[in-house]
Structures are given as C-alpha cells and as structure tokens.
C-alpha cells in the first residue's frame, strides 16, 4: 500500500466520521469545532490532489471566517440550554425517513458511478497545480464568472447588513 493510499484512507476515515459526528451530536458547539476539523482534513485531501493553493484557501475560509461567524450566531441565539446537550432538542421527528432517503440516494449514486470508466489523463494525478497558471486562466477564460461572483459577494454583503441591522 503506497503512502498516498494510506493517507487517503486515514483522511477519509477522519472526514467521514467527523461528518457523521456533526450530523449526530447533540452538542452544537462540538459540531462546530468538529466541522472545522473536517474542513481542515478536506484541505489535506486537496493537498493530496496537489492543489496547495486550494488547500490554503479552504483552511483560511473555514478556520478564519466560517467558524467565527457560526460561533457568533450561536452565541447570539438560544440554541440549547446546557453544554451537555440537555435542553432544546436539535433533531426533528424524521430521523428514520431522513436515513432512508439518504441511504437510497447513496445507493443510486454508487450504482451509477462505480461502473463508470473515466478518461483519466495520463499525466494525472502528479501534475502540480501552478498558482500563476491558475490566475492566468481565471483572468483570461473565466473573467465573466469571476465578475459575477464579485457582484454576488457584494450583494451578499449588502444583504447581510440590511437583514441583520436593528430597525430603530
């Protein structure tokens, strides 16, 4: 077993069990911190795919922004009464139905995906992704989506301010 494969198994184990913990736990704060761990491990998967820039971006966004925002929202709302998970229930009554739906979805996806033959590039996956080349591609071929994303972010920024402002 090669080192990469070993790393992949270890990372998958941490990611999937972390995700399961997030959707099962009764303690919201634990879910938030586990979310951060899972996202960092996904960044490590990006590193395994030789995309260092995306790995750093993933860590920056999830460690730097999303976790802080979610923690803020948790502290400003009354989500649960005590740290041990007692208090307001965090799950609804549809756990069984949700599980069946999710399992059905997974079965369909695996049934469709596993027999597929992908046209894997012969140089893959050892090609190191180059930040400068990526910048050139974004600003030459994908300039319109890039501008649209910037408009979306601006709209989100203004929208959040309008929504969260107290009316006086």
């Amino acid at each position: 077993m090669s080192g990469q494969l070993l790393a992949f198994w270890a990372l998958s184990f941490v990611i999937l069990s972390g995700a399961l913990y997030i959707v099962m736990t009764k303690n919201i704060m634990h879910a938030v911190f586990m979310h951060l761990l899972t996202m960092s491990m996904i960044a490590a998967v990006y590193g395994l795919l030789h995309a260092d820039f995306m790995a750093a971006m993933q860590v920056l966004i999830y460690a730097g922004a999303v976790t802080a925002m979610v923690v803020f929202a948790l502290m400003l709302t009354k989500s649960q009464s005590r740290p041990d998970g007692a208090g307001i229930a965090v799950d609804n009554q549809q756990r069984g139905a949700s599980f069946l739906t999710a399992a059905g979805f997974l079965a369909v996806v695996i049934y469709v995906l596993v027999p597929q033959k992908w046209a894997v590039h012969e140089a893959a996956p050892v090609v190191k992704s180059d930040v400068a080349a990526m910048g050139a591609i974004i600003f030459k071929s994908y300039i319109l989506p890039f501008e649209v994303i910037s408009v979306i972010l601006l709209a989100a920024l203004i929208g959040v301010i309008v929504l969260a402002r107290k009316e006086d």
Binding site: L16, Y46, V70, L76, L106, I149, A156
Partner: protein, 102 residues
Amino acid sequence: MVPLQYYIIMSAILFTIGIYGVLARRNAILVLLSVEIMFNAVNINFMAFSAYITPATMVGQIYTIFAVASGAAEIGIGLAIILLIYRGRETVNVDEVNMLKW
C-alpha cells in the same frame, strides 16, 4: 496512487451524510453546517476530476473557487436570516418557523 473512483465514492458518502443532516436536523445552524458538508463533498469531486482528467486546464479547481465563494456568501446570508428569525420569533428551530407572516 489513489484511483479516481475512491475520491468519488468518498465524496458521495460525504454528500449523503450532509443530506441526512439537512433532513434530520431541527436547529437552523446545524442545518447550515450540513449544507456546508454537502458543498464540500461537491468540491472534493470537482478537485478530484480536475486533478485526474483535466490537470492542465484546471477547470475543476476554478469551479471550486467559485463554489467556495458562493458558499461563503450563502453561509453569511444564512446566518443573518437565522439571526433575523431569532429576533422575531425567539427560536432557531426550522420546524417552528412555519408561518409566512407573523
């Protein structure tokens, strides 16, 4: 070398876990976290395809950048809406928010 299939199956399982979370959770913040899990499952797929099928043009990576940017916008807006709902109705449980007008 890790086969491409492994990445795809891993991200499919991750996406499934996210679906379960979105359906079974009652607390709006936990629903948002589950949506983030689904987002990231999709991103893993994009990244894996990018590395294995189009390593030179990096299409998947660029899609991931856009997906991450819209994901960040989504979670910001989502949390603002949660705060707004909490201010009006004193709850963040999505099953209690069942009226269009208060």
